[in-house]
């Protein structure tokens, strides 16, 4: 078991308040805490230049921190900002979406055909995720990648657990159609 640094026990809301009061270290701690999850979320959603998007998401979040009212979790709020930025970026590129095989390394396995099939499936899922309504996509990724239950998702996205469950099942149904 690793020892926790003192800042790890501070809630996100307290760190956000500290940053607003001028403590830059609080911002750095929030970035350390959520950058990897945000990167995974954006990467899974099909974003290109994920690291730039992660930085821009944090930058926008800190610049507009007074708009975060703490009703949703800080992470979910970041995911929403990141989703919006990704959508704007996608529109700017007018739908041109290139997936670099260098950026998305294939696992080095013995069966190249299986790897290729897995890569194609992954790309179809990413493509399907991009076509989902934002709330469905966020619910799906929070459920599947973050392992959040419906109560946590509802709190994060400002909806009810029942509505989150419906969004999740809509997303699954749509993805099954798109990936098939």
């Amino acid at each position: 078991m690793t020892a926790r640094t003192p800042t790890e026990t501070i809630p996100d809301a307290a760190l956000a308040a500290a940053y607003r009061a001028g403590d830059e270290r609080a911002a750095a701690e929030l970035v350390r805490r959520h950058a990897a999850a945000l990167g995974r979320f954006l990467y899974s959603s099909g974003a290109s230049e994920v690291d730039d998007l992660v930085q821009e998401t944090f930058f926008r979040a800190f610049r507009g921190l007074e708009r975060w009212r703490g009703e949703a979790s800080f992470r979910a709020w970041l995911f929403t900002i990141g989703s919006n930025l990704m959508r704007d970026d996608f529109r700017r590129r007018k739908g041109r979406h290139l997936v670099s095989l260098e950026d998305r390394d294939l696992p080095d396995r013995a069966d190249p055909h299986a790897d290729l099939a897995a890569a194609e499936t992954a790309e179809r899922i990413r493509s399907g995720l991009r076509r989902l309504p934002r709330l469905q996509r966020e619910v799906f990724l929070l459920r599947v990648q973050e392992g959040s239950d419906y109560e946590q998702i509802a709190a994060a996205l400002g909806t009810t657990p029942g509505a989150a469950r419906v969004h999740y099942h809509h997303a699954v149904k749509r993805l099954k159609e798109l990936v098939r």
């Binding site: 911002a27 750095a28 950058a35 990897a36 995974r40 610049r63 294939l106 696992p107 899922i125 993805l175």
Partner: protein
């Protein structure tokens, strides 16, 4: 609730390794192509981010805080430029205003006329024609308002007082040129003129 829906709700937990299939679940999966497809989809979706290599969080934190610092200082710079521009404009406006004031002294502004009277005609004299002429002092722009409140008798009395020295001067006794003193004076003048 259908068995498919119950299983569907559990798939993310099992795919993430937080739960295990029961024997019933496994039997259902073996016989339901739709649930198997969902199971495959969810496992693939959960692995989507496996190949994502997140950069060092400390490096990201440093980049973000640096970006915020730069934005703050540029915002401050923009604000300084604005404040300087506004102050400069205020100074220029003041200088222009004070310069104009020196060239064209500000005169007291009379209240605006509510209505303009038509010009007087010979056929129909206006009451102004019958009004007594304004005292010259008033027309020169140096009115003596104290005088306006005095009665005619008081004004006459003042005039009489003003007139008195001259009246008395007429009665001053001047030396008679026929005096011997005059002759002496005349001699003296003649002597000086040569």
């Amino acid at each position: 609730m259908t068995p498919c829906m119950l299983l569907s709700d559990r798939i993310p937990e099992v795919a993430a390794g937080r739960s295990r299939w029961t024997a019933d679940d496994e039997r259902h999966l073996a016989g339901c192509a739709d649930c198997r497809a969902e199971w495959d989809l969810l496992r693939a979706a959960a692995r989507l981010a496996d190949s994502y290599r997140a950069p060092d969080p400390s490096a990201t934190a440093a980049a973000v805080t640096q970006h915020l610092r730069t934005a703050r200082s540029s915002h401050r710079g923009r604000r300084t430029v604005w404040v300087t521009a506004v102050l400069a404009a205020a100074v220029v406006a003041f200088v222009v205003w004070s310069g104009l004031g020196r060239d064209n002294p500000v005169r007291p502004v009379s209240p605006p006329a509510i209505a303009v009277a038509p010009p007087p005609t010979a056929a129909a004299p206006t009451p102004a024609d019958h009004a007594p002429a304004a005292p010259s002092g008033a027309t020169d722009g140096f009115p003596i308002p104290e005088l306006d409140s005095l009665s005619t008798e008081a004004l006459d009395s003042m005039l009489r007082v003003l007139d008195e020295p001259l009246a008395r001067a007429a009665a001053w006794e001047l030396p008679d040129v026929g005096d011997p003193g005059d002759q002496l004076l005349e001699q003296a003048i003649t002597g000086r003129e040569g």
